[in-house]
């Protein structure tokens, strides 16, 4: 290890435009800093992109000017990133794909991801199991993307056949303010709502605030998602409005970076698929999902 040659690992992720991505950005930087100290012969290059085109440019730049040996990428979108990442692979680099799979199988060496279908399904099942037949719910969706579609479809599939009615769905764009506005209007529109699937903890915060302002806390509970620390704390404290949460940890980027690093510093080749399933956080197990130091 002493005379090991310098290896460069590129990390390309979407920029921190909403809470979850913010958490992911934080974990990425944190891990890079940690790995850089532990393995002095590893150098990391981090780039964040606000859209697919910029992300493709970032990867091109890493190849052309930073001479990377490995790439960790969380594709902004699957389709547009597939060909450029394949090109990286063809150039003989080690490729790790995180969270959003490429649209073609077998390009990456390592795949680390959450499970969007499970994310929707677990939430859906909870609604199905805990609501009376005939209950009415509303749903806040994220930014229109494939991943949001997957979650919502899984959620709807899980409710299929139950007598729970989805009154309405609108896009809250994984944003507190937007979710607040949408929820206010849902509350004006529907005199009776039994539960809300906010699909994301940032949106859950906005939703809770709107419910509180309308004074209808008693009437409904809210399920968010992704395990934001404030929300997990409230579950731990047994808040009746927030019975459970579904995990989708932003820390999965850390796992991906760590494993990629290991690939270069140890002899064990790190390949394969690692799916981090979505779990239900309940007041009983909330303790183990609570990370007070994370910004998310």
């Amino acid at each position: 290890q002493e005379e090991a040659e310098k290896k460069v690992i590129g990390v390309s992720i979407p920029s921190a435009t909403h809470g979850f991505m913010g958490g992911l950005n934080w974990h990425a930087q944190d891990t890079i800093e940690r790995m850089g100290k532990v393995y002095p012969n590893l150098e990391f290059v981090l780039a964040t992109a606000g859209d697919s085109a910029k992300q493709v440019s970032d990867i091109e730049d890493m190849m052309a000017t930073r001479n990377i040996d490995g790439l960790v990428v969380l594709p902004f979108e699957s389709e547009p990133l597939t060909a450029p990442v394949a090109a990286v692979k063809e150039a003989g680099k080690f490729v790790t794909v995180v969270d959003r799979g490429l649209s073609q199988e077998g390009i990456e060496d390592l795949y680390v991801a959450g499970d969007n279908t499970a994310f929707g399904r677990v939430a859906g099942q909870y609604f199905r199991d805990n609501l009376e037949p005939g209950s009415k719910i509303v749903v806040l969706r994220g930014i229109p993307t494939t991943l949001d579609n997957e979650r919502v479809e899984a959620f709807q599939a899980a409710l299929e056949g139950s007598e729970i009615e989805i009154l309405d769905m609108e896009h809250g764009n994984w944003n507190r303010d937007d979710a607040f506005t949408v929820m206010q209007d849902f509350l004006s529109k529907y005199p009776e709502i039994n539960a809300v699937w906010a699909a994301d903890d940032d949106m859950a915060i906005g939703v809770l605030e709107a419910i509180a302002a309308a004074g209808r806390e008693e009437e409904m509970w809210v399920i968010g998602g992704a395990g934001m620390k404030e929300i997990v704390k409230r579950i731990m404290d047994g808040d009746p409005q927030l019975p459970v949460n579904v995990t989708y940890p932003p820390a999965l980027i850390s796992a991906a970076i760590e494993m990629t690093a290991l690939n270069f510093v140890s002899n064990a080749p790190m390949t394969g698929r690692f799916i981090i399933g979505s779990q239900l956080i309940t007041p009983e197990n909330a303790e183990q999902f609570h990370f007070p130091d994370s910004p998310y």
Binding site: G22, R176, Q184, S188
Partner: protein, 323 residues
């Protein structure tokens, strides 16, 4: 005298049409609760848009307001959290936060204005630059995540957004005061006259012994101040700020100003029109949420169509007049 009235009537017609439409689509639309919601929500963009009316009337532009609001909310929260251990959970601490927001707004406005008037750079470029800067700074301060106000302080601060006199909550009251004051200043004060003169022809203004740069600078500072004030009301709503706070507010504020009949090239400012413009924009959102439409994906399209229609209503009048 009849002319300006006719002109502000245009957007008003659109507003009334929207209200009728809303009421037809869903009776809940006219419920006091919904009205309070819509008005209170309009307050942030509304106050910013009133400031923007002055900037645009003087021939300027400010793209940075949304990011500025996020940044000000961020530093206000940091300031309050920092003051909490020393000062305790009381209104003093909250006043510190408010002060930081408002003063910060003034300073940010000064920065924009000084770059525009002293360094003589196009407003579009300066504020595009500061837009990126403020947005980056708040993301950086929040470490990519969210800056949250201490829970106890939030509870104390919360009524500033939700409380008020009956259903007329503080944001509505503040917005109303700002709108009246803005209209008054534009119509009846020397400053307002000077702003219109500069936007109309800055050379004439200079030859009339008006300190063009100073007035321009002041419009940006006024806008900054109002962004600060909007922030003061924004923070108690959700108690947090992040890199995604206030995204696209600048576009909404500018759109409101122009829907209201203020010319983008400057010279004529209509504060009332701006208020109507803001309400139109808020109502569109509200109606789209209250009604059941084909697909939520198409919300943006319907919004676009209504904005254009609202302005068509008002333009028709002008064409007839001009030949």
């Amino acid at each position: 005298m009849s002319k300006p009235d006719l002109h502000t009537l245009g957007p008003l017609v659109a507003l009334v049409a929207l209200i009728v439409l809303g009421a037809l689509l869903n009776p809940a639309f006219l419920a006091p609760g919904n009205i309070t919601n819509v008005l209170a929500r309009s307050a942030f963009i509304g106050m910013i848009a009133v400031g923007m009316t002055f900037v645009i009337t003087a021939g300027g532009l400010d793209l940075s307001v949304g990011s500025m609001a996020a940044f000000l909310a961020g530093i206000a929260i940091i300031a309050m959290n920092a003051a909490l251990p020393g000062m305790g959970e009381n209104w003093g601490t909250i006043l510190v936060g408010m002060g930081v927001a408002v003063l910060g707004g003034l300073v940010a406005g000064y920065l924009n204005g000084a770059l525009i008037t002293k360094a003589r750079i196009e407003p579009f470029i300066v504020t595009l630059g500061t837009m990126g800067i403020f947005r980056s700074l708040v993301t950086w301060l929040a470490d990519g995540g969210t800056l949250s106000l201490d829970y106890g302080l939030r509870t104390l601060y919360r009524p500033v957004y939700y409380g008020g006199i009956g259903w007329i909550t503080w944001p509505i009251i503040t917005f109303a005061i700002v709108a009246f004051a803005g209209e008054w200043i534009m119509r009846h004060s020397r400053f307002g006259r000077h702003v219109e003169a500069i936007g109309s022809n800055d050379r004439v203004a200079r030859y009339s012994a008006i300190d063009v740069n100073r007035i321009r600078l002041m419009t940006y500072m006024l806008l900054g101040l109002l962004v600060g004030l909007a922030t003061v009301l924004y923070v108690p709503r959700l108690g947090s700020a992040s890199g995604s706070t206030g995204v696209l507010w600048e576009l909404e504020a500018i759109a409101a100003v122009i829907i209201g009949g203020t010319a983008l090239k400057g010279g004529t400012g209509r504060v009332w029109g701006t208020v109507v413009g803001v309400l139109i924009l808020s109502l569109i959102d509200n109606i789209l949420n209250l009604a059941d439409l084909v697909s939520p994906y198409l919300n943006g399209a319907i919004q676009g169509v209504i904005i254009v229609l609202a302005v068509v209503l008002q333009r028709e009048k002008r064409i007839a007049e001009e030949r």
